[in-house]
Symmetry: C2
Subunit: 169 residues, 2 copies
């Protein structure tokens, strides 16, 4: 419990403060429901990794996650973390941030999907942003080259609203 519990509604885009506790519980519940629906097993390790990612709202390396799991007796070797992360990313419950070799929980878990990310270099927060506009632009660029896109990596590093105030640069 490291957050401030500001009782504001969740922002669709992501950097606003919000009821973090409810945000975690709600997302886990939504994921659990989807798993039940689709016959996927949200096992204790998988659920816990999802909670760890949600609790931070930032990207975590596999070994940071593993440290937590180890402290809690849920697993001690890399494959434990990587397997859980593979499950979560494969089903669209978490995303890999390529630019950081790290992982973040998905904020609107659905099918396996690409996303765009806004990564704050000030506080480390990661927000998932609508992917369509940028993806569409990239599609048009690719089409001109006769290239067929299967997967996109769209990430932006910079300063979130809070940090751009504190770092007036």
């Amino acid at each position: 419990m490291t957050d401030t519990h500001a009782p504001r509604p969740t922002d669709a885009i992501g950097f606003a403060s919000h009821d973090h506790h409810a945000c975690i519980e709600g997302t886990v519940a939504a994921v659990a429901a989807r798993c039940a629906d689709e016959g996927l097993h949200l096992t204790p390790v998988r659920r816990r990794v999802l909670e760890i990612l949600l609790a931070r709202h930032r990207a975590l390396g596999a070994y940071e996650i593993l440290d937590v799991l180890r402290d809690e007796g849920l697993g001690s070797q890399p494959p434990v973390a990587y397997r859980a992360l593979e499950f979560l990313t494969k089903h669209g419950f978490a995303h890999r941030i390529e630019g950081m070799n790290a992982f973040a929980a998905c904020t609107h878990p659905g099918q396996d999907h690409d996303a765009a990310f806004l990564i704050c270099t000030g506080c480390g927060a990661v927000a998932e942003a609508p992917v369509e506009p940028a993806r569409a632009a990239l599609e048009r660029t690719a089409e001109a080259a006769g290239f067929t896109i299967a997967r996109t990596v769209l990430e932006a590093e910079g300063l979130c609203p809070n940090c751009s105030q504190s770092h007036p640069s």
Copy 2:
């Protein structure tokens, strides 16, 4: 000398066949000129790493590059390759492909700049595509969230024109 020397003009976007030998020499010459201009040292290791990247037209891992350098007696330990790559990427002569932990030569060397990449999962070719449209779209998305972009990672994996014919899927 492993290419076919098809004497076609270089395609601005990148997957067309072209006079590869001239393409390498021309780019190295352009980079050398820029270095002379700006007082940068294009040392033997740095030049050779650039040539290696250009010769492949695909993304190479630092250790693949190091293997070549080692064979040629130009260096044997990781920092040799990483230092050269840092120089090349810092000055916009090469780019890091985040999604692959690999590096590719820049096809229009200028100042340090972001770019968009089309990465063929069939043949491994990497083309640098215009970054502006996708970047602008991402800018608009970020603006809506009050986020200030400093750097973008825009990569698309898929099939290039040649491979989408061979892999009719």
